[in-house]
Symmetry: C2
Subunit: 154 residues, 2 copies
Amino acid sequence: MISQTAEYALRAMVFLAMKDGAATGQEIAAVTLVPGGYLSKIMQQLAKAKLVHSQRGIGGGFTLARQAKEISILDIVNAVDPIKHIRSCPLDIKSHGVNLCPLHARLSTASRQVEEAFAKSTLAELITESRSPDCLSVPLTPRALDTACGDCSL
Amino acid sequence: MISQTAEYALRAMVFLAMKDGAATGQEIAAVTLVPGGYLSKIMQQLAKAKLVHSQRGIGGGFTLARQAKEISILDIVNAVDPIKHIRSCPLDIKSHGVNLCPLHARLSTASRQVEEAFAKSTLAELITESRSPDCLSVPLTPRALDTACGDCSL
DNA sequence: CAACTTCTGGACCTTTATGTCCATAATAGC
DNA sequence: GCTATTATGGACATAAAGGTCCAGAAGTTG
């Protein structure tokens, strides 16, 4: 559905949205269970896409560059793993495989629906809409690993 | 959206659905512009999934194992590149990252929508529903590469 | 300035997806 | 049985995604 990289980016952004102030790469990696070295690459991409602001030195780290309600899932996914659209039949120039058009029309429709759904969800919604109150009250630290959440079954 | 492999499998199946009798691997590869050697692997997967029947020797090749109206896009995609569902928060056992649940709920919803759309489209629909009559009348041979189809813009 | 923290960016490695090649097995026609 | 045809399956090659590591730049504190 989405790449591992996009999944990681989303986790990091959700975490940032829930956190007051800056979070260091190490902190984000620990909480979101993303490999630290790899996360740093992803954060760089998010910074280049102007979704987060980065600050070096003590007290530094990453913060959202905009309000959580102004950042959609689609923004995040596109920053690290751009959704590519089918613009013409992939069967070479003269489209001999023109007979495949109805097929690609379906695929295109499906991907546009996903895109639309992603565009409609903001970070703000994701952190507000907790279906299981216990879940959100879990402290945002690696230690919380010990805390079970029976409702987390999606 | 879907893997290259799934794209290739769909092209091959659409071609088979349009063709009377068996088509050899070479023929399918030429028309669908899929690398021959790679296509043979994919056809093997489709055969194992009982979506096509294979026959060796002269006059042999591949044929649909069921009627075109009984084969959905989802059947084909699942045969070569199974859609994996999110069943629980991917943040390890005790779901410390429980705060990500709303996120994964969205992702899960999106993938289920795609799955549903794919399940509803059959091969029969794909080959009937030609929005551009000219397209479907194009001969199903590599030579047709020379035939342009202006309506093929998806 | 010195020491410490944190991001940056490049080199490199591993795994997975994609793609190639060929010997072999099954089938049909003669 | 012989030959031509066609799928099968394994070995191998290449490309892309995912992941690791570390030197160095930029920032903070004292």
